[in-house]
């Protein structure tokens, strides 16, 4: 038993036959104007060609129609493709009759005109078909601007998440994910599985198999199930071979559904779990969002050169473009010069560990130019209180390790001036008790050593002694 669906799925195979044939036929017709085409061989050849063309066009239309019954796809593009395809089939039959019958000169001219018409029809039909399989912007994306305008489908401005806190969480966190990974197949032009996600309403309306999002129940939501299927399994979304969601993006969707799948405004940034914040626009990452994109901006040759020196450079997390740099393998060879070499990476350095190196205050003006820096470890280095002043320029510095460095009380003022300092390690720094006292309230936590706990009480009825 052959299933209907199987016949339908032959469509992509069958449809290429008439496209090939029609160009062959055009060639034959063209040649017949220049060479003597009155012979029987020419006529047989033309008729045979035409018969094949008509048959294959009808076959393409029929298989295409059957495929559309599966309901995998929906939308304006499909409807256009479908009717153009059916028209093409009808026209090809007309042309076939003309070819079999026509012998007068006028009929021949008419026949060639229809042939050109069919050819144009096929190009347009094929274009819509291409949009269905490759997405609406496949052709136009890299086309010259003039052509883009002609194609009438310049790619949508990709919606950039904005840093405005008044926007909806949905708009900032969820829609950008769907826009970049799903809308090409589930958007206004094409609705695979009769499902669209270009607006919150469409998303909540669900698809062929009902609602795709069940607020509060990510594990039961079709959408999450699709995302979490193994990539090589049929039904996994986005289908294998297409750009996949990152784990953080998946957890963002899960979290949003868990939290009620609301697209209302008024969700507070603070309610978003820490781990998802990397998806939101970061103030300090110069516009690019994905780590891959960022890496392509970092100079790869430089990076390899640094790694060859055994400098350890790694990302803080898979989805965070910011860097954690340390020097454990070469700490006794690290000098101010080494820090200077890092400067091309400055926008991305978040954790910098220079402990036990030969760095001096000379490196601090460089470090001051690392805007994303949150954690700086200078333990056992040769810096001094004066040099530290340049660090007040670091807008995001939260943790500063100065333990084992001989300083004095002048450092207190400098530290108080660092706008976001939360923790400072000052063991063995010679800062006076009064200085430490001044520092510790209320924003900054000062860490020197572990204060031994007092004994509060002792077991009265112990057996020992």
């Amino acid at each position: 038993m052959i299933k209907w669906e199987f016949i339908g799925r032959l469509h992509p195979l069958v449809l290429h036959v008439p496209i090939g044939l029609i160009f062959g036929l055009l060639l034959i017709e063209g040649l017949s104007w220049v060479v003597d085409s009155g012979t029987r061989a020419w006529r047989v050849c033309r008729k045979a060609y035409m018969t094949l063309l008509a048959l294959s066009t009808v076959a393409a239309a029929v298989t295409g129609y059957i495929l559309s019954l599966e309901g995998q796809t929906d939308g304006a593009t499909l409807i256009r493709h479908k009717w153009l395809g059916i028209t093409a089939a009808v026209v090809s039959l007309v042309l076939w009759i003309l070819t079999i019958k026509s012998n007068t000169r006028v009929q021949a001219v008419f026949r060639v005109l229809v042939l050109w018409g069919l050819c144009a029809l096929m190009v347009v039909t094929g274009h819509f078909g291409g949009q269905l399989t490759h997405g609406p912007h496949f052709l136009s994306t890299h086309a010259p601007p003039a052509l883009q305008a002609f194609l009438g489908s310049a790619p949508l401005e990709t919606r950039q998440p904005s840093a405005d806190t008044s926007i909806t969480l949905y708009g900032a966190l969820i829609q950008p994910i769907l826009d970049s990974h799903c809308v090409s197949c589930h958007g206004p032009d094409r609705q695979s599985g009769q499902f669209a996600v270009h607006t919150a309403e469409a998303l909540m309306a669900g698809g062929r198999s009902g609602p795709a999002v069940l607020p509060g129940a990510p594990q039961d939501s079709e959408l999450m199930k699709r995302l979490q299927l193994p990539p090589d399994e049929a039904g996994h979304m986005p289908p294998q071979g297409k750009a996949q969601l990152s784990p953080v993006q998946i957890s963002a969707l899960a979290w949003w559904i868990q939290a009620g799948a609301s697209s209302d405004p008024g969700v507070n940034r603070d309610e978003i779990p820490q781990s998802l914040l990397s998806l939101l626009p970061q103030p300090d990452t110069t516009g690019q969002s994905s780590p891959e994109e960022i890496s392509s901006h970092m100079d790869e040759a430089l990076m390899r050169r640094l790694e060859d020196q055994q400098i350890s450079i790694q990302r803080i997390t898979q989805d965070d473009p910011r860097l954690w740099i340390s020097f454990p393998a070469i700490s006794d060879r690290v000098t101010d010069e080494t820090v200077k070499q890092l400067m091309p990476l400055a926008p991305w350095i978040a954790w910098l560990d220079l402990s036990d190196t030969h760095v001096t205050s000379g490196a601090l003006p460089w470090i001051a130019q690392m805007p994303a820096l949150t954690e700086l470890n200078l333990r056992h280095t040769g810096i001094d209180a004066e040099g530290l002043k340049s660090l007040v320029q670091n807008p995001n510095l939260e943790r500063l390790n100065l333990s084992g460095i001989s300083l004095d009380d002048t450092v207190v003022e400098t530290l108080l001036n660092m706008p976001h300092l939360k923790r400072v390690y000052l063991w063995g720094s010679n800062v006076s008790q009064a200085g430490l006292q001044r520092l510790s309230a209320p924003r900054i936590e000062v860490i020197t050593d572990a204060t031994p706990s007092e004994v509060l009480s002792t077991d009265p009825n112990a057996v020992a002694e």
Binding site: E307, Q318, S326, P328, S453, V455, S457, T458, D459
Partner: protein, 485 residues
């Protein structure tokens, strides 16, 4: 990885090796071999199989002070004052329940209660104080830093399966050790030292066997197995060059061997050959890094004092604690200490006193040292054994002498630093210290929590082997959020 893809990646590597063999010379070889194992990653920032952590790590490294043999929670941390009146009374059947008993006490006609003979004190912490026995005065004074879990439980009742479970997530041998998973997932920070280092110290009294399959990488590529640094002689065996061999000679030898190995790899495509090349290179680099590491002369007397008098004695627990700090400073991800000798079936009071004396000051000193250097915030220290000990006595019982058998249902571990809440205790056991009353923590939960602190989602660090995806926590494990800051 898809085998075909991995084949092509290897092919690209081969061209790299060709270049190094004829061109800039072998020294560049080392830097080509970083990362998870074989393939030169396309993105130079990738580390380990994960490329980078899933979550921003709270702990950048782990020091695991494994107390091999199972320390008695009842004589150290799980204070049960009510038991004094229960001396030599039978443990109620309702408490013992269905618990299977080891062959060592299953023949006993009764299960008499042995209260701890040690005096407990309550040390100030972030809650209403932490009871610690007089065996651990230095550790008690660190109560403000400790996150004490009284309710870890395990399924094993014997040492081998018990340790194996805690180290690999499974009672049967063959799975990768926790440190191997971390090394595999996150890779190295310091190219000159392994990501996973093991050190063993001997204890007093009854010692349980310990073998290198506890730090084996199981089915993971073998470069992720723990490297055992020995306590005496050369810390790493066969590391020094033989007399008369210069470092340049060694280099030439390694280059030649690497070339042969590479040819063999090109022929067979066996990834273990690449591991071998990587290990030769690592050993070569360790020839320089290890002597520097073990040179404790650069430590100040004040620092050495923190660890107590044994610290200068290689192989002691105190020495290993100091080494652990030095390894942590040098970027080693997972530092696994094993301290043997806690298996006190009889004569417990005497033996546990010796064990406690050898560990108390060093471990408290380690915490203090890390704290002072500002390293405690991003170093997770873990202390604990493979199970606990029974409240009932094994063998003869007197007020001042008793023994305790293995007890899987609850035991105490503590953690410090690295993103755990300081100064708290978690979980409650019943009045006998026998059953969990509140907040039981399974070994899988414990592993999941540790991985979480390192920024790894335990469900997403897997390795395909024998047709299925394996992970440290098998199919279980929940992160215990109450323990996290």
């Amino acid at each position: 990885m898809d085998p075909l893809e991995s084949y092509y990646r290897h092919i690209t590597r081969r061209s790299f090796f060709k270049k190094t063999a004829t061109g800039i010379g072998g020294l560049a070889l080392g830097s080509l071999l970083n990362g998870p194992g074989f393939a030169q990653p396309a993105d130079p920032l990738q580390r380990g199989a994960l490329g980078a952590a899933h979550l921003a790590p709270k702990a950048k490294r782990i020091i695991y002070l494994f107390q091999n043999g199972a320390p008695s929670q009842l004589d150290l941390f799980d204070y049960k004052p009510g038991l004094v009146d229960q001396f030599d009374k039978d443990l109620p059947d309702s408490i013992r329940g269905e618990q299977r008993v080891t062959g060592m006490t299953s023949g006993q006609s009764r299960f008499p209660i042995a209260p701890s003979m040690f005096k407990f004190s309550r040390y100030q912490n972030q809650q209403d104080g932490l009871w610690v026995s007089e065996l651990y005065p230095h550790t008690g004074r660190m109560a403000n830093e400790l996150c004490v879990v009284r309710t870890l439980f395990t399924e094993a009742i014997n040492h081998e399966p018990g340790i194996t479970f805690l180290q690999t997530g499974n009672q049967l041998p063959g799975r990768p050790s926790m440190g191997s998973w971390i090394s595999y997932g996150l890779g190295r920070v310091n190219e000159n030292l392994p990501a996973f280092v093991v050190m063993i110290s001997q204890g007093f009294g009854n010692m349980q066997a310990i073998s290198n399959r506890l730090w084996s990488s199981g089915f993971l590529p073998s470069e992720h197995q723990g490297v055992n640094f020995r306590g005496s002689g050369d810390p790493v065996l066969f590391l020094s060059d033989p007399r008369g061999i210069s470092r340049a000679d060694r280099r030439r030898m390694l280059d030649a061997v690497a070339k042969l190995n590479q040819e063999e790899f090109d022929r067979t495509q066996d990834p273990e050959i690449l591991t071998r090349i990587a290990q030769y290179e690592m050993a070569y680099r360790m020839q320089m890094s290890v002597p520097e590491l073990t040179n404790i002369k650069e430590e100040t007397p004040a620092t050495l004092d923190l660890y107590g008098p044994e610290v200068t004695k290689p192989g002691s627990f105190a020495y290993n604690c100091l080494m652990a700090r030095r390894l942590a400073e040098r970027g080693v991800r997972f530092i696994q200490l094993y301290n043997r000798g806690w298996d006190q079936h009889g004569n417990l009071p005497h033996e546990i006193s010796l064990q406690a004396r050898a560990t108390d000051q060093p471990q408290a000193g380690l915490l203090q040292d890390l704290k002072q250097r500002g390293m405690l915030d991003d170093t997770l220290v873990i202390w604990g054994g493979e199970f606990g000990r029974t409240v009932y006595c094994q063998g003869g019982l007197s007020r001042t002498n008793y023994g305790r058998d293995h007890h899987p249902r609850c035991f105490t571990v503590w953690m410090a630093g690295g993103g755990v809440k300081p100064g708290i205790s978690y979980g409650k056991t019943d009045d006998y210290g026998y059953n969990i009353v509140e907040h039981g923590v399974s070994v899988h939960d414990f592993h999941a929590t540790i991985m979480h602190l390192l920024g790894i989602e335990h469900e997403r660090l897997t390795y395909r082997y024998l047709g299925r995806d394996f992970r440290l926590t098998d199919v279980e494990g929940n992160v215990i959020r109450d323990l996290l800051v």
